[in-house]
Structure formats: structure tokens, C-alpha cells
């Protein structure tokens, strides 16, 4: 379980959120929603260990990840991220982008397996900058499928995609949730909010 206790985040004079608390059950599909600039992505990044809160605690399976840097690294090994901007290395091939995951953190699947799942096998040796936005997001999804993870953090995963590609992303996220993974997604798309078990309005 993920427990968020009295979390506060301040950027300069700007208080993003103050004393926020909630719980996320293991295996659930949680959607963070709210207006632009309310701190949805910041909250996601803090739970995922990519950003530090100003104060408060985030307890993942009994471990306070705001206290222990080593635990954050451990947590990252159990988490997967899907970013709106795909977070791919532009000047490397699709295959190389998948292979940046350390061997110990990979699933039993091969690069070809996961690329096949997202229908990108034919682009295996293409440079990332030559791909379209939808194709890049599918590579990011393949990377997510290639990595061992228990919690998936998706930040506006369909924000820059057409309907067809958005559906592929959502279908895969749902499948991962069905397989027992916790999915935390940030979106401002009203239609997408409905797919979550829980909606947390920030």
C-alpha cells in the first residue's frame, strides 16, 4: 500500500499543495485529476521517487521513501514510468532505448516480444527521432513492458496521441493493472477518468 501523509510541496513562494493525505491500495488503478498547474505530475513524481516533497511522508509497503535514498533507488527498480514526452533518447535506436534497462530489472520477455506487443517490431533498428509521436509512445510502452515493475506511473500518457494510439496505451495499462500491478495515472481527460478505480482530485 502507498500511504501519503501530510504532504506539502512548495516551489519558491508558490505552495503547490499543503498537508495532502491519502492511501492507494496495491493492485488498484488510480487517476489523479485536477486543473492545469495543480500539481498532478509533481505528486506522481514524488510518489515515484523522482522528486522530493518539501515536507510530509510517502510510505510504500511500510517504507518511508522520503527518508531513505537507498530505498528510493530500490523503489525505482520496482516502478515503471510512462511520460507524456515519452522520455526516450532521441539519437539512439528503439532497441537501444529498451536495452538501457539493466538486465536484473528486465522481465523474462525479449526486446522483440515487447516490440511485437506494441506492433513496433519492424521499427526495432530505427532511430527514435525518425518516429512519429504515437510510435514513440508505443516504444515507451514497450520499455514499460520490458521492465519488472509493481507500480506503473503514467503522466498524461495519451496527452499527445491520436485516438487509435491512445486506445492502445489505455488497453495496455488496463492489462498491466489486471496482471496485478498498481497503476497511477495523471490525466485531465474527462473520458479517461472513468477507467480508474479511484479518482483523486488535487
Amino acid at each position: 500500500m502507498i500511504e501519503v501523509r501530510n504532504l506539502t510541496k512548495v516551489y519558491g513562494d508558490n505552495i503547490i499543495f499543503n498537508n495532502v493525505s491519502f492511501n492507494i491500495e496495491n493492485g488498484s488503478f488510480v487517476v489523479f485529476s485536477g486543473k492545469s498547474g495543480c500539481g498532478k505530475t509533481t505528486m506522481l513524481n514524488m510518489i515515484g521517487g523522482l522528486e522530493k516533497p518539501t515536507s510530509g511522508h510517502i510510505i510504500v509497503d511500510g517504507t518511508d521513501i522520503t527518508k531513505n535514498k537507498r530505498k528510493i533507488e530500490y523503489l525505482r527498480q520496482k516502478t515503471g514510468f510512462l511520460f507524456q514526452n515519452f522520455a526516450l533518447i532521441d539519437n539512439k535506436t528503439v532497441k537501444k532505448n529498451l536495452e538501457i534497462i539493466a538486465r536484473k530489472n528486465r522481465t523474462d520477455k525479449t526486446v522483440d516480444d515487447v516490440l511485437n506487443e506494441v506492433s513496433m517490431l519492424d521499427k526495432r533498428d530505427s532511430m527514435v527521432y525518425t518516429l512519429s509521436g504515437g510510435e514513440q509512445q508505443r516504444v515507451a510502452l514497450a520499455r514499460l513492458l520490458f521492465k519488472k515493475c509493481e507500480i506503473v506511473f503514467a503522466d498524461e500518457p495519451t496527452g499527445s496521441l491520436d485516438k487509435e494510439n491512445a486506445e492502445i496505451v489505455i488497453r495496455l495499462l488496463k492489462k498491466m493493472n489486471k496482471d496485478g500491478k498498481t497503476v497511477i495515472m495523471v490525466t485531465h481527460d474527462e473520458e479517461l477518468k472513468s477507467i480508474g478505480d479511484n479518482i483523486i482530485n488535487l
Binding site: E73, R76, A102, G133, G134, Q137, K147
Partner: protein, 663 residues
């Protein structure tokens, strides 16, 4: 790409560091010896065996340790450090050196040999002189040893002027430039590292991998360069120094990588690169390399001069390879005698001093006359008879220099007392000074010498110059080449006491010269004898090495400039691709899309030109026209590079950046 640029630039900086520090390594080594030991100097030439025997006995008696320095010129330039019994390893450790031979670009080859006292005979067989003893131990013991030595020999404590170690500045600049490239590389890779961390890779592991790769590549590059340069510079003497500099570089490099720990991962993933930090670094590197390149190009005309100087020395060597240059100076004993008269008897001192100077002058003339009787002799010396005459292109030549002069000028020298050879292009002041000097010789010697004037077109000659003032080599004669000088040739200079010159060239051997001084009891004189071959070879090596060093620097600098410009253009296009795509989408022309980088490239070239002009102005080499031409060439190269890369980039459909994954 960035890694490639970084490692190439680091290799060039290593090269510059090793060449510079290798050249100064020998001087630093001598400084260290004087720091670590007390030096006792023999003021006269004594029998080697006697000194060696006394040194061995006295070090034992006074519980000191140290070494005798034997300079052996019989086979190149060897220094033999003959160590007190059983102390060889201790001395080696203290000096941080071992038996080695090395070359220096400017001063030729050296050989350092550490030998035990028991092996000394091997090294004293050749024509060698013991000049000094270096001692360490308890201060009182050293003093007792000195006193005992002083009672038997003419000795004195020797102090040196320590040379400032400029290696530290060169090393620091090289390390800083490498670290600047490291920062650039680190910033450039920040996003990729953060992506890697976000997929669960350990940041510690990434840092370790990056740091170790840098260490391996820097060490391998350094080792390779040391191996290559060991034949050309004294890198063998700066092994410890190189290790320290590399350790500093590795530590600073790793510390820079640790900066990844302070990176905000999520914001780094969002932002492609930190352009605000990268671009100023890139422009700084470009301006530095461009300035250096401009200055080096300004000096490119020097290559032709260096080449003709080399050929001139080669020709001189052919004519006089069996000759030696004998330079006379006051013996230390004589200096001390004069000093003691001045300080002890100030009222009557001047009279005695005059007597000593007269005696010294007589002994000098006697030495020259005896040498002239026993061997061939010649002058080919620079004119230094007027105050401030360093600028005069006049050579005083004599005796057997005639064939050399004839072959260079294609003129047969006349049988008159004096022949003045005048080049097609000459300075009126020089000619006036030459004629004035002949008049002076006539007057001084009460003669009416017959003079013939001959004209030649142009030729370069080797002469022995007297360097004084703020020159690097103080109060010493050195070989140099003069382009088309006025030559005053005297067939028989001995009759005029060699015009008070203190140096002559002769084919008498070094041993015979020293023996002559001993046999004739010329106590006021001290000789410094070098073969013409050694001097002209050294001169040729110096010119050759200057040509090589210049070319290496020019190529390195041009490469550094091209890579920094190329990376700058690449990065600018990468960092501003979104802005340019937007600009394209709203219908702006290609020129307006790239106007900012065009202005920056032009501005950086103009800035480089301005800095170069300022530097050149300060070293009195102001050449605005040439800098303007180079600046235009630099701008043209930059713009051509930009046009090509921008064209290739535009072909990739830059508007795609606005689709989907726009940040």
C-alpha cells in the same frame, strides 16, 4: 559526438602539457637537487682521482651522504652522479629519478647515470671534469666536511636561482579545459542519465561507469602519448608529476559526475538540455581555440625562416664539424681575488684590481696566440662593440672562415688586410658602424689597413652571438643565424688580439685546450668548450623542433576549433529545433530562422579577432589586415558548416517536432 570531441581535445591538451613539461623537466630536476642537497663547487680543475678518493673518505668520516657530479661530453651529454658508498638508492629516491636517457626538443639528448663509488672508474676514463659535490646530512657534519675540503681545494658553496615551475600553470589550464569539456558532456547527457535512472538503473552505477570510462581513456591516451613522446622530451623525469596531475584530473572529473546526485530527475526528463549552461561554455571554447588559431596563423611566416636557418646551420656544420668553440671567462679564483681586493683594501684595491685585470687580459691573449700557433682558428662572431649593438647585422670573421664565406656568397675574398662584404640590401647604419669600427682598429693598432669592399646578393650565415640583458640564456655566447649581414673579414685576426672577443673557434681538442691552460699556468682563465658540431646540431634540432612544435600546435588548434564549431552548430540546432519548427510553421524564411546563430557565430569570430589583435598588439606583432582576412575565413567556414548542417536538418522534416511529443 560530444564524447569524441571531449576525448580528442583532452588528447591535444595532454600533448601540449607533456611537450611543455617534458622540456622543462630537466631544469626542475636540477632545482630539486639543489633543494635537497648542499652544493660544494670546485673553483679549479683538479685531478679526478684525488677528488673521488677524498670524497669517499670524507663522507664516511663525517657521516654524510651525497654524490659527485661528473659531466661527460664524450658521447652526447652525460651527467654521472657518483654516489657515496651504499647510498645510490637513497639518493635516487630523494631526487625522484633513476638511470635514464632522454631528449629535449630544444636542448638535445641527455643521459643521467647514478653510479656507486666502486664503479666510478668506468666513467672517469673519458674526457670529463668533476665540478661539484652535493651533500646531505647533519648541518654540522656538512660544515666540517666543507672545512676539510676547503683546506685542500679551492671550493665554495654554490647557490642557484630557482626557476619557477611553470608546469603548474600549464597543467592547471589543461585540467581546467578538460573539466570544462567534462561539464559540457555531463550537462549534455543529463537527460539521458535521468531517463536511465527513471527505468530503475542505479545512479551510482551510471556515475561509476562514466568515471571509470573517462579514467581508462585518459590513462590510455596519457600512456600512449608518454610512450610516443619519450623519444622526444624528458617525460621520464616527470612521471611522478604526471601521476599527480592525472590523479587531480580523475578526482575532479569524478566529483563533476557526482553532480548528477543533485539533478532534479523529473524536470531534466522534461527538458531536453540545459542550453543556458551549455552554450556559453561552447562559445567560450570556440573563442579560445579561434584566438589561438589566429595567432598561430599570424606566425606561420616564421616556418620559412626556421627552415632556412636549419639549412644554414647544416652547411656551417659541414665546414666546421671538427672545430670547437672556446669561450674564456674569469676563473672563480680570479673573481674571488678581485672581490677580496675591493672589499678588504678599498683605498689601494683599485690599483691591484687593475693589475689583476691586465694580467687576465694578457693571459687571454697568450692563450689565443698559443692556440693559433698550434691549430686552425677562426672568428665568425656577432658585432657587439657598441652599446645597444644587438640589432646590428654585422659579423666579424677571420682566418679559416674564408672558404665558408666564399661558398655562401660566391665571392673570392681579396688578399687585402680587410674585406668588407656588403649584401644587396643593407642598413646604412650598419655599414657606417662597420667602417667606423675598421677605423677604430687602425687607430688602436696604429696601422693603415688596406680595405676591399665586395658586394653579394644575399645569404644566411651562422655567427656566435653574445646574449645579455633579459635573455633566457644570460651572459652566454650562443650560435645564431643572420640573414645577409655585413661581413668584416680579417685574414689574420690573431695580430689584433682577436679584437677583445672572449670566444674563438679552433680545431684544437678540448683536452689540449685545458692542458694548455694548466701547462702555461693561466690561472685567471676558465674555459667552456663545446664542439661546433654539438652547437650546430643543437641549433638545427631547435629549429626543427620549433617547426614541428608549431605544426603540431597549428593542426591541434585547427582541429580543436573545427570540433568546437561543429559541436556548437550541432547543439544549437538540436536545442532550438522546436523554436525553428515553430518559426517555419508561421512562415519565416530560412535566414530569419537561423539569424540568431549566424549573428552569434559572426560575433564570436569578431570577438576572437579583437582578442587576438589585443594580444598581438601587446607582443608588438599588430597585424590588423591579416587578422581581418583570417576572421573572414573563420566566419566563412562557420557559415558553410552551419549551412550544411542546417540543410541536412531541414531535410529531416523539422516540423515533425511539433507533432505529438512536443515538450
Amino acid at each position: 559526438m560530444i564524447k569524441g570531441i571531449k576525448y580528442s581535445a583532452a588528447a591535444i591538451l595532454f600533448l601540449i602539457f607533456l611537450v611543455f613539461c617534458g622540456e622543462t623537466a630537466y631544469t626542475s630536476f636540477i632545482d630539486k637537487a639543489f633543494d635537497e642537497f648542499n652544493s660544494i663547487y670546485f673553483e679549479k680543475v683538479y685531478e679526478n682521482d684525488e677528488i673521488i678518493e677524498d670524497f669517499a673518505a670524507l663522507t664516511k668520516k663525517h657521516d654524510c651522504y651525497g654524490y659527485l657530479t661528473i659531466y661527460d661530453y664524450s658521447d652526447g651529454y652525460s651527467e654521472i652522479y657518483c654516489c657515496s658508498e651504499g647510498d645510490t638508492e637513497r639518493i635516487k629516491k630523494k631526487l625522484g629519478a633513476d638511470n635514464c636517457s632522454f631528449n629535449t626538443i630544444l636542448n638535445g639528448s641527455y643521459k643521467l647515470v647514478f653510479a656507486d663509488m666502486s664503479d666510478i672508474e668506468k666513467y672517469t676514463e673519458n674526457d670529463c671534469i668533476i665540478q661539484q659535490i652535493l651533500i646531505d646530512g647533519d648541518v654540522n657534519d656538512i660544515y666540517s666536511l666543507y672545512k676539510e675540503l676547503d683546506s685542500k681545494y679551492e671550493v665554495s658553496w654554490e647557490g642557484t636561482t630557482k626557476n619557477s615551475d611553470k608546469c603548474i600553470y600549464v597543467g592547471a589550464i589543461c585540467i581546467l579545459l578538460i573539466l570544462l569539456l567534462d561539464i559540457y558532456d555531463i550537462i549534455n547527457k543529463k537527460r539521458n542519465v535521468c531517463i536511465s535512472v527513471s527505468v530503475g538503473n542505479s545512479l551510482c552505477g551510471i556515475i561509476f561507469k562514466e568515471a571509470v570510462r573517462d579514467i581508462i581513456i585518459y590513462t590510455a591516451t596519457g600512456a600512449l602519448l608518454i610512450w610516443v613522446l619519450s623519444g622526444y622530451t624528458a617525460v621520464v623525469l616527470i612521471k611522478d608529476k604526471i601521476c599527480i596531475y592525472l590523479a587531480v584530473l580523475f578526482a575532479a572529473n569524478t566529483a563533476l559526475y557526482l553532480s548528477y546526485y543533485f539533478t532534479n530527475i523529473s524536470s531534466s526528463i522534461k527538458n531536453e538540455n540545459d542550453s543556458d549552461t551549455i552554450m556559453p561554455i561552447n562559445y567560450t571554447l570556440k573563442v579560445i581555440s579561434c584566438c589561438t588559431l589566429m595567432i598561430l596563423i599570424i606566425f606561420s611566416g616564421k616556418i620559412k625562416t626556421l627552415k632556412s636557418q636549419y639549412e644554414c646551420a647544416e652547411k656551417f656544420n659541414k665546414y666546421f664539424s671538427g672545430y670547437s668553440r672556446v669561450e674564456l671567462s674569469e676563473s672563480p679564483l680570479w673573481v674571488r681575488k678581485i672581490d677580496s681586493y675591493i672589499t678588504d683594501t678599498p683605498d689601494r684595491g683599485s690599483n691591484n684590481v687593475t693589475k689583476l685585470i691586465d694580467q687576465e687580459f694578457e693571459e687571454q691573449l697568450r692563450f689565443f696566440q698559443l692556440t693559433d700557433e698550434q691549430s686552425d682558428i677562426f672568428l665568425m662572431n656577432g658585432y657587439n662593440f657598441e652599446t645597444g649593438s644587438r640589432g646590428r647585422k654585422i659579423i666579424i670573421a677571420s682566418d679559416c672562415a674564408d672558404k665558408y664565406i666564399s661558398s655562401c656568397t660566391d665571392i673570392d675574398l681579396s688578399d687585402k688586410d680587410i674585406t668588407i662584404l656588403i649584401p644587396a640590401s643593407y642598413n646604412l647604419g650598419d655599414l657606417h658602424a662597420a667602417k667606423k669600427w675598421v677605423k677604430y682598429i687602425n687607430k688602436e693598432n696604429n696601422k693603415n689597413l688596406t680595405v676591399d669592399e665586395k658586394h653579394y646578393s644575399s645569404a644566411r650565415f651562422i655567427s656566435f652571438e653574445y646574449i645579455s640583458g633579459d635573455s633566457l640564456i644570460k651572459d652566454d655566447y650562443i650560435i645564431s643565424s643572420v640573414d645577409s649581414p655585413i661581413i668584416i673579414y680579417f685574414p689574420k685576426a690573431a695580430e689584433y688580439g682577436f679584437f677583445y672577443y672572449q670566444s674563438i673557434q679552433t680545431n684544437m681538442s678540448k683536452n689540449d685546450s685545458n692542458q694548455l691552460i694548466k701547462n702555461e699556468g693561466l690561472a685567471s682563465l676558465f674555459t667552456d668548450i663545446s664542439t661546433v658540431e654539438t652547437l650546430s646540431n643543437g641549433y638545427m634540432r631547435k629549429q626543427y623542433s620549433e617547426i614541428t612544435t608549431y605544426l603540431i600546435l597549428l593542426i591541434s588548434c585547427a582541429f580543436y576549433y573545427l570540433t568546437s564549431s561543429l559541436s556548437l552548430v550541432f547543439l544549437d540546432i538540436k536545442l532550438n529545433k522546436k523554436e525553428r519548427a515553430i518559426s517555419y510553421s508561421v512562415g519565416n524564411s530560412i535566414f530569419s530562422r537561423y539569424a540568431d546563430i549566424i549573428l552569434k557565430l559572426t560575433g564570436s569570430a569578431i570577438l576572437s579577432g579583437a582578442i587576438s589583435l589585443y594580444i598581438l598588439y601587446n607582443i608588438h606583432q599588430f597585424r590588423a589586415g591579416m587578422i581581418a582576412v583570417i576572421m573572414a575565413e573563420v566566419i566563412l567556414t562557420d557559415l558553410l558548416m552551419l549551412s550544411f548542417i542546417a540543410y541536412m536538418n531541414e531535410k529531416r522534416n523539422t516540423i515533425k517536432i511539433l507533432k505529438g511529443g512536443a515538450l
